[in-house]
């Protein structure tokens, strides 16, 4: 009963944050001389107008789901994983390397690609976890640094081993046999970029939810997140759980990298940190760190990102302002935690008021009774 209440409250908070974000976006559109209703109409139309665009919104959301899950999972253990971008890169690198190297039947190849991406991402996540557990190096610093190590690793390795005959700056094109895109899905969504990644995402949302809610492992991870000392005292291996949590978070982000580089995109470019890695933080915040919340939040962000261009094309809102509007919506949406805190304060205040009032009333009643 109590859990249901919390879920409902979180949902309302997130909804409120989204509405706040949309209002802020509307104000920005208005200030820059555009019509907000028109703007939002084309924004959502751009993401939902036809089956192809719906598919594109889902495809854009896929890496965001994984990135958000990654952040949310680490956060359950009290860790802040800013390294989603780097873990995605390494996951994508492993996936691309496997996809370009081996010539196996598609089902086998895809399975190996997925496993390789998870291992790559897990290693990239586990290292900061290990540093945290062993030497108490703050994971925020460590994961940010790991992002740049991943960036330059890709920068160096792709031109060396994976490049095509002409271009120095990107890998060869992923063959269809190694791509998460499948023809039946592409034609079902009339030529969209949707790929098997979305199903993977749903499966992993369910798995993550199961681990966190229904297993001892999830219980221990959360216990470490709530109170490290108490968990230690209760005989839970804190250090082990920190490393484990970061490894799982890394594996999730790595998978996101696979869905991005061998699903959404068709090759790997050097010199780019995937922005999804950072958007994942906002996704997790808006999703209140719950797996299904992350899923919904990522779909919303996917919709925004896909619709933005159409809004640009149909209105006089320049791309830079459109980016700002989207960023504003995301920013406000991500403040749901803040809203929640203030909400609680407000509620307490109200409760106190009501208490005082009822006390006064009862006092008055008492005095009234005396007369």
């Amino acid at each position: 009963m109590k859990k249901k209440l919390i879920v409902k409250k979180n949902f309302l908070m997130s909804l409120f944050a989204v509405i706040l974000g949309l209002i802020a976006g509307a104000i920005l559109m208005f200030v820059t001389g555009s019509n907000p209703i028109e703007g939002f109409y084309y924004l959502f139309r751009g993401g939902l107008m036809n089956i192809e665009r719906i598919g594109n919104s889902l495809a854009t959301a896929t890496p965001l789901i994984f990135a958000g899950l990654s952040v949310a999972f680490a956060f359950k253990t009290g860790l802040f994983n800013i390294g989603g971008a780097g873990q995605m890169l390494i996951g994508g690198l492993c996936a691309t390397a496997v996809g370009l190297t081996f010539d196996w039947p598609k089902p086998i190849l895809l399975t190996v690609i997925i496993i390789a991406a998870m291992i790559g991402g897990a290693l990239w996540g586990a290292l900061p976890g290990l540093l945290k557990a062993r030497f108490n190096v703050h994971e925020v610093v460590a994961t940010i640094m790991m992002n740049w190590i991943a960036y330059w690793t890709v920068f160096y390795l792709v031109p060396l081993y994976l490049k095509g005959p002409f271009l120095e700056t990107e890998s060869q094109r992923i063959p269809m046999a190694a791509s998460l895109k499948v023809s039946w899905l592409t034609s079902l969504f009339s030529g969209s970029y949707i790929n098997l990644g979305i199903f993977l995402a749903i499966i992993f949302v369910a798995i993550t939810a199961f681990i966190l809610e229904r297993t001892t492992l999830g219980y221990e991870l959360k216990a470490v997140g709530y109170n490290r000392d108490a968990a230690e005292a209760a005989g839970i291996g804190v250090n082990r759980n920190i490393v484990l949590s970061m490894a799982v978070a890394g594996a999730l982000a790595g998978l996101g990298g696979a869905t991005f580089y061998v699903g959404f995109a068709s090759n790997m470019q050097i010199g780019v940190l995937p922005s999804q890695g950072f958007d994942g933080i906002a996704v997790a915040l808006l999703g209140a760190n719950s797996p299904w919340g992350v899923f919904a939040a990522a779909l919303f962000f996917g919709l925004l990102h896909t619709g933005k261009g159409f809004m640009n094309a149909m209105t006089a809102i320049p791309p830079e302002i459109a980016d700002t509007i989207i960023a504003t919506i995301i920013y406000f949406a991500a403040t749901s935690v803040l809203i929640e805190r203030n909400w609680d304060k407000l509620n307490k205040f109200r409760l106190a008021l009501r208490l005082r009032k009822s006390k006064q009333e009862s006092l008055e009643d008492d005095s009234g009774g005396e007369q």
Binding site: I27, P36, F166, Q172, Q269, P274, N312, A313
Partner: protein, 365 residues
């Protein structure tokens, strides 16, 4: 629950009020869209911003000028990323919004254009610096696509020649953006220009392999500044910066040094960057610029479409022979004799008596 309802009402109210203020404008615009059947020209930017002072900006200026001259509606979109999917999405957005003529600058659009040329057969596409292919570099240029290349090596050659002739002796260097064909050809042409001056006009300009660097991005201004500072400290006199925003960093560094009396120079790229390099009065550190007339190319294609002569299915080469490349008409930092010699070389390029190689050969990377 009731307070949520109240909140929702407030939100709806706010939207309604804000909406009413500009509702009339919407209706008008809606009518316009239906009435006007004129060409609407769109552009999708490559990596980097619209005001990159070179590639994107050059293309956009050509589109804008055509829009003004022929009274066309123009619009550009900035993709969320640089993957083929991002590009196809933005091109689709333009086409769906009835912008049926789309200019795409950059080789990164090659596979995206390959996709959309079939997907939107009633739209026309101009691809600059690349040709459509399926990822296998087999050109497939459909009737609704024209593919444009520039002879960057010839442009770089003229820049290198001018720099060497003006310096007479000293050292030159190169900062590239990403190691992509257009930038590589600029680099190789530049080196050939310097060598040509050394051989034929007995200049003594040195080139050191360590100072021929691809920074790796087109937007890291700070990195461009650091690279340029290191090169100038090593005694380099002039840097050819073919690097978008990275080049702007190099220009900034040169400006700072010139302001303290140091004689350092930058050879600009893509457009005439003289104004960008002004540090005092009308004195600029831009020696000259190795230009490719992207704006002219974009403008010409739009004009051709309006005239009904759109060269669909063709791969065009803009080079010295058709005045597609060159150095600016006015170069305040070049001596008239130098300009005359460069003009001579330009004429030789046009006549075909002088040939610049577009492959690396024995040159630096």
């Amino acid at each position: 629950m009731r307070k949520w309802l109240a909140l929702l009402l407030v939100v709806v109210f706010v939207f309604a009020v804000v909406g009413c203020a500009t509702e009339d404008a919407v209706v008008d615009e809606g009518e316009d869209v239906e009435e006007v059947a004129a060409l609407r020209v769109g552009m999708v930017t490559d990596a980097g911003t619209i005001d990159d002072k070179s590639f994107n900006q050059g293309t956009w200026e050509g589109v804008l000028l055509a829009g003004q001259d022929f009274g066309l509606e123009t619009r550009y979109l900035k993709p969320g990323g640089t993957t083929e999917a991002d590009y196809v999405t933005e091109i689709g957005n333009l086409v769906d919004a009835d912008f049926k003529f789309v200019v795409c600058p950059g080789f990164k659009f090659e596979t995206a254009i390959f996709d959309v040329q079939d997907r939107y057969p009633d739209a026309k596409f101009v691809l600059i610096d690349g040709y459509p292919h399926a990822g296998d570099w087999e050109p497939v240029v459909k009737e609704n696509v024209v593919s444009i290349f520039f002879a960057e090596h010839e442009s770089g050659f003229l820049g290198g020649l001018a720099a060497a002739l003006q310096l007479q002796e000293g050292e030159v260097a190169f900062i590239g953006g990403m190691e992509i064909p257009a930038v590589q050809k600029f680099n190789w042409g530049f080196q050939q220009g310097v060598l040509y001056a050394n051989e034929n006009y007995s200049t003594q300009v040195v080139m050191n392999a360590d100072n021929f660097i691809y920074q790796g991005t087109f937007d890291d201004v700070a990195a461009g500044q650091v690279l340029a500072a290191a090169m100038f400290d090593k005694g380099v006199d002039a840097i050819f910066a073919a690097a978008g925003g990275v080049g702007i960093g190099a220009i900034n560094e040169a400006k700072a040094r010139a302001a303290t009396g140091q004689a350092v120079w930058i050879v600009g790229v893509d457009v005439d960057q003289y104004a960008e390099g002004i540090y005092e009065g009308d004195k600029s550190i831009i020696l000259t610029s190795a230009m490719k007339y992207i704006d002219v190319a974009a403008y010409d294609m739009i004009k051709a479409e309006l005239d009904g002569t759109f060269p669909g299915g063709e791969i065009l080469m803009f080079n010295a022979a058709n005045f597609g490349i060159g150095i600016p008409k006015e170069n305040p930092n070049l001596d008239p004799e130098v300009e005359a010699l460069v003009a001579e070389a330009f004429a030789a390029l046009q006549a075909g008596t002088l040939v610049v190689s577009d492959v690396q050969g024995d040159l630096f990377k």
